[in-house]
C-alpha cells in the first residue's frame, strides 16, 4: 500500500495560519458569490445545466465515434494527432515530438492533464526548460508546489508570500507586495521567455468532433501568446474533453466562466483548427484511467467535468483547509471523486474529507452527482481494508452496540456516568478530538426511553 495523503493533518496546519485561512475562505467564498450573481442574470441557467449534462452524457456514451471523427477532421486540417494510453506514454510522445523539433525551451499554459501526467519534471529531467505562463501556475512552479485550485492556482498564498517568492526567484523588491507591481514584474519576466521559446504547449477545455478543433479558455491570453509566437504548438487533450458540435460550445462557454469566476466569459476563448500560418500543430489524445472510469456505473459521470472550479469555491471544507490539503493534481470535491480513481491507496482518506453538505452537486454546471460519489467511495475504501484502524475498530464497536437494545442502553448509562463523574481533564484530552475546540454535551437525568417508560407506558 502506498503511503496515504493525510488531508486532515494538512488542513489543520493551514487552518493554524489564521491570516492565510481567513483570507482564503473569504476570497474563495467571494467567487461563489460572484457565481451566484452571474447565474442570477441567466434565467435559463437550470435548463443550460441539463443541456450541458446531456450533451456530455451523449458524448461519453458514443465516445468512440466522436474520437474517430475528431481525429479525422483534425488531421484533414493539418494537425498531427497522437494517442497515449497513460501518463508515461503521454510524456514519451510529447518528448519525442519536442526532440524531433530540437526544442530546448518551451512555454506552457495551464493544463491539469499535463500536471496529472507529471510532464514537467519528466521533460526537465531530459534537459528541456519548461516555463508555466499562467501567473498562478508560475507562482506554484517557482514555489515547487502543485496548483491549489483549478482556476486560481495560488489563491492560498498571501501577496506577501508572492512578494517574498518573486524577490527570491526573479529579483523584485521584497517589500513591494502590491499585486499590480508583482504582476507587472512577471509580465516583464515572462515576455522574453515567450519570444525565446521553441514550442508552446496547451491543454484544452473542449475538443469539437464536428470541426476537428479544440478550445482553450484563459484570462491572461497566455495560451494565445504561447501558440502564436513559437512555431510549434503541442496540445494535450483528455479523451473526455470531446463534444459533438460547434454549436454545443454555446452551452459550455456560457457556463464555464460564470461558474468559475462569475464573469460571462473568460477574457480569451481561443479556438484552434489546424496549424497557424507558419506553424505546426500536434495533438495528444490521452486516456490515463479515463476509459476505466467510463466503465464504472457509479463514477463515470465525473468525466463530464469541464474544470470550472465551482465545486471548490462552494466547498466549506476546501475553503478552510486549502487546496494543497488534498495532495493531488485535482483538489476540492472533484478531486475527492477523481483522485482515488488514480491511486486508491494514496488517496484513501480523501472521501472522508467532506461533510457531505451537497453544495458541490448544486453548483456543478454539468450536474455531476459529486456529493453522492463522495459517499460511494467510502464503502470502497472500507471494503479494501483501507480505513484507518481507529475508525475500523470504532465503527465495529459502534455497530455491535447499536445492533442490540440492551447493549445500547447499558452503554448510554456507562457514558452518562463517565461524563458526569470523570474529572474534566479526562474527556478533554488530546485523544478526544471533539474536546479540542468544543465543549462536550451535558448529561441529562434520564434518556428519552426512560422518560417514555415513566410517563407513557403504564406497566
Amino acid at each position: 500500500m502506498t503511503r496515504a495523503v493525510d488531508p486532515e493533518g494538512r488542513a489543520e496546519r493551514f487552518i493554524a495560519l489564521e491570516e492565510h485561512e481567513s483570507t482564503h475562505d473569504r476570497l474563495v467564498w467571494g467567487m461563489r458569490q460572484n457565481r451566484d450573481k452571474a447565474v442570477a442574470g441567466v434565467p435559463e441557467w437550470e435548463e443550460l445545466r441539463e443541456q450541458a449534462s446531456q450533451i456530455k452524457e451523449h458524448t461519453l456514451t458514443h465516445l468512440d465515434q466522436y474520437l474517430e471523427q475528431f481525429e479525422a477532421n483534425a488531421t484533414n486540417l493539418g494537425a498531427h494527432v497522437h494517442w497515449a494510453r497513460d501518463a508515461e506514454e503521454h510524456n514519451a510522445v510529447v518528448y519525442e515530438i519536442l526532440q524531433a523539433h530540437r526544442v530546448k525551451s518551451l512555454i506552457k499554459s495551464k493544463s491539469m492533464l499535463q500536471e496529472e501526467c507529471g510532464m514537467t519534471p519528466y521533460l526537465q529531467k531530459r534537459g528541456i526548460e519548461v516555463t508555466e505562463s499562467d501567473l498562478g501556475e508560475r507562482i506554484q512552479q517557482l514555489s515547487d508546489e502543485p496548483p491549489s485550485h483549478i482556476v486560481v492556482p495560488a489563491i492560498h498564498k498571501l501577496r506577501s508570500d508572492v512578494a517574498a517568492l518573486f524577490a527570491e526567484k526573479i529579483g523584485t523588491d521584497p517589500k513591494d507586495s502590491d499585486p499590480h507591481s508583482l504582476t507587472e514584474a512577471m509580465r516583464q519576466n515572462a515576455r522574453p521567455k515567450f519570444i525565446a521559446a521553441d514550442a508552446g504547449m496547451t491543454g484544452a477545455n473542449f475538443a469539437v468532433a464536428e470541426t476537428g478543433g479544440f478550445v482553450v479558455c484563459t484570462n491572461e491570453g497566455n495560451a494565445d501568446i504561447g501558440t502564436s509566437v513559437p512555431p510549434l504548438h503541442v496540445a494535450s487533450i483528455g479523451i473526455e474533453k470531446l463534444i459533438p458540435r460547434a454549436r454545443d460550445l454555446g452551452v459550455f462557454i456560457r457556463m464555464l466562466s460564470r461558474s468559475a469566476l462569475g464573469s460571462p466569459i473568460t477574457q480569451y476563448t481561443s479556438h484552434f483548427h489546424g496549424p497557424r500560418r507558419g506553424g505546426e500543430l500536434h495533438v495528444v489524445l490521452v486516456d490515463n484511467t479515463r476509459s476505466d472510469r467510463l466503465g464504472s456505473p457509479d463514477f463515470w459521470h465525473a468525466l463530464k467535468c469541464i474544470r470550472c472550479g465551482a465545486c471548490m469555491n462552494t466547498c466549506p471544507v476546501y475553503r478552510r483547509g486549502g487546496g494543497l490539503s488534498y495532495g493531488a493534481t485535482y483538489s476540492g470535491p472533484i478531486g475527492v471523486i477523481l483522485d482515488p480513481g488514480f491511486d486508491l491507496s494514496k488517496y484513501r482518506e480523501l472521501p472522508f474529507h467532506s461533510s457531505l453538505c451537497g453544495s458541490c452537486t448544486e453548483v456543478c454546471p454539468v450536474k455531476i452527482d459529486i456529493s453522492d460519489q463522495i459517499y460511494k467511495w467510502r464503502p470502497i475504501v472500507a471494503a479494501k481494508g483501507m480505513l484507518k484502524l481507529s475508525k475500523k475498530v470504532g465503527m465495529s464497536a459502534l455497530g455491535m452496540t447499536l445492533a442490540h437494545p440492551a447493549v445500547f442502553h447499558a452503554a448510554e448509562s456507562a457514558a452518562e456516568s463517565a461524563l458526569e463523574h470523570l474529572p474534566r481533564f479526562l474527556p478533554y484530552n488530546p485523544l478526544n478530538p471533539w474536546g479540542r475546540h468544543r465543549d462536550l454535551p451535558t448529561v441529562p437525568k434520564q434518556t428519552f426511553r426512560q422518560w417514555y417508560l415513566e410517563n407513557r407506558r403504564k406497566s
Partner: protein
C-alpha cells in the same frame, strides 16, 4: 496493438448503457442576460445584478456595458478620420502602431510582417472584428482579421474596430454565425488580458494587451487620406 486501437477498444468496451441521445439546443430562443430573477426578501445579502437591459433595449448598449464590465472600453467613431483622431488622442505615446485595417494606417502594416517575433515591439495593434457578442462583451477575431495572430497578444494595447450593426446577443447566436474550421485561430476577446491570481485582485495587462478599446465604426470604403 497501438495506443489508438487500444484506447478505442477500451472505450468501446466501457461505454455506459443505455446510450444518451444528443439534445437539440434551443439556441436563439434562449434570450441571454436579463434582469436578475430569484432575489427574495429572505436573502437580503445577495448582491445586486448590475443593470441589464430589458427585452427591448438595444443590443449595442448592452454590448458596451458588458465590455466595460470585462475591463474594456468603447467609443463611437463617425468615420475613418474620426477613428484615426481617437487613436491619436488615446495613445499619444504609441511609437509602433501595427495595423491590419485601412481606416487606421499605423506605422507598420501587419501584412508586411514575416515572423510573429517581429511584433514584440508593438505599442498598439489595430484590427477589425466582424462580430461582437453582447452577453459576453466580446469581439470575434480570426487569423483572417489578424493576419499574424500574435498581433492580438504581443501588442501592449489593442484597438478593435467593430461595426455597431454586427453585434449579436448570445454565444448561441455567435456560434451560429461563425465557421470555426475556416480559420486556424479564432478568439472571442472580452476586454484586456487579466488575472486575479494574487489574492483575487483583478489586474489588467497580465500577459497580453493591457487595454482593449473598441471603436464602433462600420467598415469604410476607402482609407480616406494618409497618415
Amino acid at each position: 496493438m497501438n495506443a489508438r486501437d487500444a484506447i478505442l477498444a477500451a472505450v468501446r468496451n466501457n461505454m455506459p448503457q443505455p446510450a444518451v441521445p444528443l439534445p437539440e439546443i434551443p439556441g436563439s430562443e434562449w434570450k441571454g442576460v436579463k434582469h436578475g430573477l430569484g432575489y427574495k426578501e429572505h436573502f437580503t445579502r445577495l448582491p445586486e445584478v448590475p443593470g441589464a437591459p430589458g427585452v427591448n433595449e438595444p443590443l449595442l448598449a448592452y454590448f458596451r456595458l458588458q465590455l466595460e464590465a470585462m475591463g474594456g472600453r468603447s467609443f463611437e467613431a463617425a468615420d475613418a478620420t474620426a477613428a484615426r483622431a481617437k487613436v491619436a488622442e488615446l495613445f499619444p505615446d504609441a511609437n509602433v502602431v501595427c495595423s491590419a485595417v485601412s481606416e487606421v494606417p499605423g506605422t507598420r502594416r501587419v501584412e508586411d510582417v514575416r515572423d510573429p517575433h517581429e511584433l514584440n515591439d508593438v505599442d498598439l495593434g489595430v484590427v477589425r472584428s466582424p462580430l461582437g457578442v453582447a452577453e459576453a462583451g466580446a469581439v470575434w477575431l480570426t487569423q483572417a482579421e489578424l493576419v499574424v495572430n500574435a498581433l492580438e497578444v504581443l501588442s501592449q494595447h489593442l484597438v478593435v474596430l467593430l461595426d455597431p450593426a454586427a453585434v449579436v446577443e448570445t454565444m448561441h447566436d455567435a456560434y451560429g454565425q461563425i465557421d470555426l474550421a475556416a480559420s486556424p485561430y479564432g478568439v472571442f476577446l472580452a476586454g484586456p488580458s487579466a488575472t486575479g491570481d494574487i489574492e483575487g485582485v483583478i489586474i489588467h495587462g497580465a500577459q497580453g494587451a493591457r487595454s482593449l478599446t473598441v471603436l464602433l465604426l462600420a467598415p469604410q470604403a476607402t482609407a480616406g487620406g494618409s497618415g
